[in-house]
């Protein structure tokens, strides 16, 4: 009797294990086909697509979890983590890990990916003038971009915390984040715009002329400072990100802690360095990491504003150019790998922090 239930259960389990994932795939594939081939009015289409996307992902997890719940406890605990991590691992494996490995492989081959050339692509990246410029500019981006975003973000977060118009100030600083790169390009063209003569429609040149200076072609002629003018755009857009997160972190510092320090006679500067900074150190690390990664990958600011001309090329734009325009898969892939190597120290720092917190 007991034997019989177990074997029936085992049969049921096997059935569920096969059936539920298969059903999931079939249902979503059918919906996918429906959307691909149907011609609904835009509004209906959008609403249905949103419902499918949001509910679909929930039902997938729910049904898979239900299957695992049918297993005996020992197996349940073993399988469950893979249900939770599985989808992330699958998607990342397919869409990011495999392409990255392929890129690594291509970086050891020549331009048309026919011949093995060893490390000569890497040698070229560090000697070719064009590629070196890209590396130098990327260093400028990472250095100035990160310092300014993190520094200004922290400063504004602290100031806003003590000001009388916190909400307004934070909204103003955050607003550029809501702007697409294409739109930001338009905005900043109105600032850097150059034409000869006294009548300027670019704000920066208008200011320069008003103070009796000569108008400059900021983005093309003033090398290598034109890179800094591009970095200003990034700072304008990304400081809001840092500020928002720092602001939340600062607010989580217990008021008593700050009060106690003030009673002990600590100045604001001392409080900042010996209480605030240690308290928000892990936030500081994660924000800095995010912005370093962002600046390392910077692409559209440069593409929209200068297209990489006038020595403003960065690694990502040069990578794009090598791969899609010059058809040099070797150089292109090598540049991507260099980016990957460049970030190892940052990743290592983060892992150390995770370990400290008991990962």
């Amino acid at each position: 009797m007991n034997q019989a239930t177990t074997s029936r259960n085992a049969f049921q389990l096997a059935l569920f294990t096969v059936l539920v994932p298969a059903l999931n795939i079939a249902v979503h594939w059918l919906i996918f086909i429906f959307f691909r081939d149907s011609d609904l009015p835009p509004v209906v289409n959008a609403v249905l697509a949103v419902i499918w996307g949001a509910l679909g992902i929930y039902t997938i997890y729910y049904s898979l979890n239900w299957v695992v719940e049918q297993y005996p406890d020992k197996w349940k605990n073993r399988l469950l983590p893979f249900i939770f991590v599985g989808p992330a691992a699958l998607i990342l494996g397919w869409l990011l890990v495999l392409p990255t490995l392929r890129t690594l492989y291509l970086s050891f081959l020549d331009a048309s990916s026919d011949k093995f050339v060893g490390l000569s692509n890497f040698a070229a990246v560090f000697t070719d003038r064009l590629l070196l410029t890209a590396l130098r500019n990327n260093l400028l981006w990472v250095f100035f971009g990160t310092i300014a975003c993190v520094g200004l973000g922290l400063l504004i977060a602290i100031l806003a915390d003590r000001s009388s118009f916190e909400k307004l100030a934070k909204s103003i600083i955050f607003m550029p984040m809501a702007i697409s790169m294409v739109a930001a390009g338009v905005i900043w063209k109105f600032i850097y715009y150059y034409q000869p003569g006294d009548e300027q429609i670019g704000l920066l040149n208008a200011i320069v002329v008003a103070f009796g200076g000569e108008p400059q072609a900021w983005l093309s002629m003033v090398q290598p400072w034109n890179n800094l003018f591009l970095i200003v755009i990034l700072i304008w857009m990304q400081t809001g990100f840092a500020m928002v997160i720092f602001s939340a972190a600062i607010k989580s510092i217990p008021e008593e802690l700050l009060e106690a320090a003030r009673i002990d006679g600590a100045g604001e500067v001392k409080i900042f360095f010996s209480i605030m900074i240690p308290y928000i150190s892990s936030t500081l690390l994660s924000v800095t990491t995010t912005i370093i990664v962002f600046t390392l990958k910077i692409f559209d600011v440069v593409m929209v504003m200068t297209g990489g001309q006038y020595d403003t090329e960065v690694v990502a734009t040069q990578f794009y150019r090598q791969l899609f325009m010059y058809q040099n898969a070797g150089y292109g892939s090598t540049l991507a790998i260099v980016l990957l190597i460049a970030v190892i120290p940052v990743i290592w720092l983060n892992l150390r922090q995770f370990r400290k917190e008991g990962f």
Binding site: R36, Y62, L92, L96, S247, A336
Partner: protein
């Protein structure tokens, strides 16, 4: 008493410094807003700040020179001689400016500085962008026909259909994964986590061609589903990193007592972990949403620019590209595309202030 005064003084200073920073931050967007309401010709001729009262040269009288004045030689005007080049650029005399009014008729404008403001505003840019631009087409038989270009309505809804699922799906997947990394034990946990963190830095351009090839063979090109999955993959590393920071900071006793009460991991996750990390979820949602809403590259490659699927950023980019230099339209289009992200930001803003947010904020 003295301390209070010090505090008030520093508050005044804080407000001032912050106000200056905010002013600098707001000027570029404000310039765009002003420009979007100006007629096309004005945008290209004068800076947007000319809408404020300012001193500018204004013609007060005109001087007629003898018709036979030689433009190559020195030109005498009111007792002084100037060259043709000087008169073209404008030259100063007794606080007035002399400039050619009509060079061929030998007429010189005498200008004085006067207070003016250019206040011609119109909503024409917005009307054109929203309704579609009118094109005049000459038919083969010689008759003229006006044809309306694509407006922004369709692409607005397309962007909604792309952005909301492309925000919800990765956040869901990443939160489940982050929960497993933080609170479940399984083989390969460390390696997997390190890999995901390392993927933060992979430039997405690396993946474009291989994915495109796979999508083509699966028939997923130009579909919403395809672009959701692409955005999910590109957003997952950062969201997992953020959600791990938030979820791993939850107190341990919470989990222990819930397990004693017989909760499963799934109910724990949906009933306890998600509600407790709402601030983190709200903020990472905003960032992912903004990123997807404003994305250009990914949609260009996986959705294409057909009007049926075209998203807003592509619509704007098309204004620059195929339709020549329509700066005046760009200003309005850029503003329209900002409206939705701003609405999302303001509606979720309260979580920012209260929040324990993604970045490992101790709570």
């Amino acid at each position: 008493m003295r301390k209070k005064k010090g505090v008030r003084q520093s508050k005044w200073l804080v407000n001032l410094v912050l106000a200056i920073i905010c002013l600098i931050w707001a000027v570029p967007s404000f310039g765009l807003l002003v420009s979007s309401f100006r007629p096309a010709a004005d945008i290209l001729e004068t800076g947007w700040w000319n809408i404020f009262p300012h001193k500018d040269w204004k013609t007060v009288t005109q001087l007629e020179l003898p018709r036979d004045t030689d433009l190559r030689g020195p030109i005498e005007v009111r007792g002084e001689t100037f060259t043709d080049d000087q008169l073209r650029a404008g030259v100063k005399q007794d606080g007035q400016q002399l400039v050619w009014g009509n060079r061929r008729a030998r007429v010189i404008d005498v200008q004085e500085k006067e207070w003016t403001a250019i206040t011609r505003f119109s909503t024409e840019n917005y009307e054109t962008v929203l309704g579609g631009k009118n094109y005049k087409i000459t038919m083969p038989d010689g008759t003229q026909k006006t044809e309306k270009g694509a407006g922004m309505g369709r692409s607005f809804w397309n962007t909604v259909a792309v952005s909301i699922p492309a925000t919800v799906i990765p956040i869901f997947i990443a939160s489940f994964a982050a929960y497993a990394f933080a609170w479940l034990k399984f083989p390969g946990r460390r390696t997997l986590f390190v890999t995901i963190i390392a993927l933060l830095v992979v430039p997405l351009q690396v993946a474009l061609i291989p994915i495109l090839r796979d999508y083509t063979s699966l028939g997923m090109n130009g579909t919403y589903f395809g672009i959701w999955i692409a955005h999910t993959a590109f957003g997952l590393p950062l969201i997992t990193y953020f959600m791990y920071n938030a979820i791993s900071q939850l107190p341990k006793d919470l989990f222990e007592s819930a397990f004693i009460d017989g909760a499963t991991n799934f109910t724990m996750f949906s009933r306890l972990v998600l509600p407790l990390t709402v601030p983190a979820l709200a903020s990472i949602s905003i960032f992912q949403f903004l990123w997807v809403w404003n994305d250009y590259l990914v949609s260009l490659i996986f959705l294409g620019s057909l009007p049926e699927v075209q998203v807003l950023s592509m619509n704007i980019a098309n204004l620059i590209g195929t339709r020549g230099n329509d700066w005046h339209l760009l200003t309005a289009a850029a503003f329209i595309s900002m409206l939705m992200p701003l609405a999302v930001f303001f509606s979720l803003q309260k979580y920012f202030v209260r929040g324990l947010l993604g970045g490992s904020v101790k709570g």
